[in-house]
């Protein structure tokens, strides 16, 4: 036990004396959540549009005012004729152009039917679709207001509500994903590097020639990183809650326990990487390419797993972060308990046991 304590102390010295790395490890989650929360967003806000109003009557003017009074759109320019449409798109100045036919209001009154056209820049398809949807929603709403006094023969009233994320905030999605990525980075990468570092510097050689049990060497290495990772995820949770208002609907205790489970899983993964590699460089590359990319791309963090081709969907099952993100979203956003996420929890435990067994099998008590 005294040996173990001495080793944990040694590991803390290693971490705290390499203060550059420490700053990166603590600062990275903060910077990343700020970036994802503020800068990188797929919400529509102040999208620039142009309007070509051939009618310029009461109806078109009211509708334009309604559209521009939202946060979503900002008027770049009124166009004078059709020829300007393409050039303004080509310049990339606007994302959408709204066109009213001439006599829009008159037709609407007399013929009960009028035309307008919406053209969107689909070089960014997601944004284009969203802009169209928003614009249509405003027009439908206006239409409903006109019809309010009249009795329609048939009508279906649609009341839609966005559950778990009312305002469709991107940060709700990013916080769980970021926790997964940061934990992956700190736990798996840093442990694998710090173990291979001992191999590279020759200190592992001298440790092997002592009665020190390899298990103790490695467990002692894991303890500080477990703490560091835990602190990091708590920082992200706090920032998410206080800065971006990301709620924790479920049990906080369960959430923290699941986070520790995931940290242990990726730590065991990091240990496994270090038993299979002998230099820091290789361990770093293995962690980055082998862990970070699948975690970002296949975990459902950025792209929904259901939309992937079948082979990728199958591969995504061996990405631990995928299961963790399901768990953490469930607890944070939906407020579910263990009765719902027990399967994912068991899968993570399985991963952990698998990597620990594999590492024990692969760890050599000698140099070669």
């Amino acid at each position: 036990m005294k040996r173990f304590q001495a080793f944990v102390k040694k590991e803390f010295h290693h971490i705290t004396r390499d203060w550059r790395t420490l700053i990166i490890l603590i600062g990275m989650p903060i910077i990343q959540i700020m970036l994802f929360g503020f800068a990188i967003t797929n919400e529509i806000k102040d999208a620039k549009i142009a309007i070509l109003d051939h009618a310029q009557d009461e109806h078109s003017t009211v509708l334009i005012n309604k559209i521009l009074s939202t946060d979503y759109f900002q008027l770049e320019k009124y166009l004078a004729d059709d020829s300007e449409i393409e050039s303004i798109f080509k310049k990339g100045k606007v994302k959408e152009v709204i066109i009213f036919e001439s006599g829009f209001g008159e037709k609407l009154e007399k013929e009960k039917k009028a035309n307008m056209q919406i053209i969107a820049d689909a070089s960014d398809p997601n944004t284009a679709t969203m802009l169209l949807n928003y614009t249509q929603a405003i027009i439908v709403n206006y239409q409903a207001n006109i019809n309010l006094s009249k009795k329609l023969p048939f009508s279906i009233n649609i009341q839609s509500e966005m559950f778990y994320n009312n305002e469709l905030k991107g940060v709700y999605l990013f916080v769980p994903g970021l926790i997964a990525i940061i934990l992956m980075l700190v736990s798996a990468m840093m442990t694998s590097i710090s173990i291979t570092k001992e191999k590279e510097l020759g200190t592992m050689e001298i440790l092997l020639a002592t009665p020190m049990k390899p298990v103790i060497i490695i467990v002692a290495k894991v303890v500080p990183y477990l703490m560091l990772s835990f602190i990091n995820s708590v920082i992200i949770l706090l920032l998410g809650y206080f800065v971006f208002g990301v709620p924790v609907h479920g049990s906080l205790v369960l959430l923290l326990l699941e986070m520790i489970l995931f940290i242990l899983t990726v730590l065991s993964l990091g240990i496994f990487i270090s038993t299979a590699t002998s230099s820091q460089q290789v361990a770093l590359m293995a962690s980055l390419m082998g862990l970070m990319l699948p975690t970002i791309l296949l975990s459902g963090f950025l792209f929904p797993v259901e939309n992937m081709p079948l082979p990728l969907q199958i591969i995504s099952n061996i990405v631990p972060a995928k299961w963790f993100i399901i768990i953490i979203k469930g607890i944070m956003l939906k407020g579910v308990g263990l009765s719902v996420i027990w399967k994912e929890t068991l899968i993570l435990m399985g991963f952990m046991a698998f990597f620990i067994l594999l590492s024990i099998k692969k760890f050599k008590p000698r140099l070669a």
Binding site: K2, R3, Q5, A6, F7, K10, H13, H14, R17, D18, L201, G202, T203, E205, I206, L207, L208, A209, T210, P211, M212, P365, R366, L367, A368
Partner: protein, 307 residues
Amino acid sequence: MISIKSINKSYGAVMALNNINIEVSKGEIFGLIGPDGAGKTTLIRILTTLLLPDTGSAQVMNKDVVNDFRALRREFGYMPGRFSLYEDLTVSENLELFASIFGTTIEENYYLIEDIYKQIEPFKDRRAGKLSGGMKQKLALSCAMIHKPEVIFLDEPTTGVDPVSRKEFWQMLKKLKGYGITIFVSTPYMDEASLCDRIALIQDGHIMSIDTPNKIVSQFDGKLYAIISDKKHGLLKDLREFPSARSVFLFGSHIHYTDKNEELRKAELTDYLKLRGHDKIEILEILPVIEDCFLALMGNLKDAAHV
């Protein structure tokens, strides 16, 4: 204390150790002497249970290095060739760490390392990475000795260390020997051979000779001459081309020479050299040192390989 029986070890096609047999008795300073790549580190790693031999066996303190490796790792002290302590820990933190690994304290065995550690103690709060080469070696030796081992293995402890520190280091080893500790040390410096009780000369994985340094020197075959001339450049080549030359090696400022004949015909050699433009020729009979023996044995080994 240490018993090595017909150990072989190869890395792929390269034979690193070829049928090694060595017995080291208690309290001896045993030197393993040979150039880089001779197999010194491989042998020490086998003895310290870090590598497995292909064939053969070895016992340290009556424990087998393969089967009893766990028990054996409590017993010996080991100082690897490369400085392998934690450079980001301070001097005293390193020492404390190794003391606690072996379940002991610095105070308990302080008397053993006192002479060594005393010299680095003024820097005990300095990070190990910021020490000079000689001080690093002293710290590494202190760490290897902190659990009071009966036998220590030192792999090239004086490589890359200044001459003064080298001398101090050997004095410390002598002192440790005084406590009855068996010391197995490897070195590429032939001049350190005479500081050992017994030595083994190793080259290309072969042990060429095992004996006390004096005996090895006395077994030198033939007479040895030191030759200098005013034309240093070319002397080596000219001497090698002398018909009855047996061995010609450059030794610092002069050349060590042995002749195929029992008695060197000095006049003949002088005339030969003068004919080749040398002047101020001096030919002195000298006593061989370990390096002469090593080079002679190396020549035999090569001849044997050619047959």
